[in-house]
Symmetry: C2
Subunit: 210 residues, 2 copies
């Protein structure tokens, strides 16, 4: 198909497709003339993946790394997962204190050597962001966070398809990244439901008259 039809099929503007071509995210089509090329279903599928990743908040540079992991995956699904995570996280610079992050990770079943340093550094940075705002997470809430991510991660990993490397690769790489906006969106719904059940229509009484 020509680039105009590729654009129609994927709902990605032609100018954006050309940008992805220039950035090397999308491979060149087959040249039919000096100014035209044709594209096949593999381009369409790749373009859908690119659009989904970028729509999920992944940068162009990170998207390139995710695509690299899809194109040339490590043999083990475990290393695949590491590659997918690495693609969307800044590199660990060894500067951040991961003591608190390791404590939480142990509650998730972590032991030294089981996770990339980068992933622990990511937890440490996130904790730092919370603390710097002067926000304290109640112990009961942190316990709920740990229980929840353990539940969902076990289900995710249990369902990695193993009938083919390609299926495992797509599932692991896309699943870890694309699901992030969905989880956050579902959490907002659940928060509003719980809040309506607890507070709907009631007002927090100030301690003294205004």
């Amino acid at each position: 198909m020509r680039i105009s039809e590729l654009s129609t099929q994927t709902e990605v503007p032609v100018a954006t497709i050309k940008y992805y071509l220039r950035e090397g995210l999308l491979p060149e089509g087959e040249r039919t003339s000096p100014t035209q090329a044709t594209y096949g279903s593999e381009h369409e599928q790749r373009l859908r993946v690119i659009r989904a990743l970028i729509g999920a908040g992944v940068t162009v540079a990170e998207t390139r790394k995710v695509l690299d992991a899809l194109d040339d995956p490590p043999a083990s699904p475990h290393d695949l997962l590491g590659a997918a995570h690495a693609a969307v996280m800044p590199p660990a610079d060894g500067q951040i204190d991961t003591v608190d992050a390791e404590r939480l990770a142990r509650d998730l079943g972590w032991q030294p050597g089981l996770c990339d340093e980068q992933v622990l550094a990511g937890v440490a940075r996130a904790l730092q962001g919370v603390e710097r705002a002067g926000f304290r997470i109640p112990d009961a809430v942190m316990a709920a966070y740990l229980e929840s991510v353990r539940t969902l991660a076990q289900a995710e990993i249990a369902n990695v398809p193993t009938e083919s490397p390609e299926a495992a690769v797509r599932y692991v790489v896309l699943g870890s990244v694309l699901i992030e906006p969905l989880l956050l969106a579902l959490r907002r719904v659940a928060e509003q439901v719980a809040s309506a059940e607890r507070f709907g229509g009631t007002v927090v009484e100030p301690e003294s008259a205004p």
Copy 2:
């Protein structure tokens, strides 16, 4: 304190502080001369909040809305939560089909009227992103997502402090936004742990010899 000390205390560069002042995120200090101002602890605290929000991926425009909700909060913690969510989500344009999102929301205890349209639209957009990549979430995994967000949201809302409106405001507004990077980071650790337990060192066998 002068702007240089504010910078030292908060580890925010002076140029960045001046940017926040120009953008109106940070209120002006008290002028002590035509070219100098002094800043107090309320500036320091606000700056920490700004930095934490922006570090959590919130844009300047969204940060402004979060700060507005902190400065002039609705009376009800439920409306507060809606304001915090609204600050970090694009406005609903009524164009997206929310049928699938509503089905998932019902599994989270939603009933019509219990949530902002915007939050449901957010779920719909996230689902759309996943589907457009050709990624299918196994039923067991979706069930785990729903169970997990329900668990964590109930703990979050149960722990909203009610002894003062200010405490409730900070908790709700900051908690819903600042926690997002932490949840995603904890999920990555949990995924790597579960993956190491399932796959560590093993290779997905291709169906035919390479």
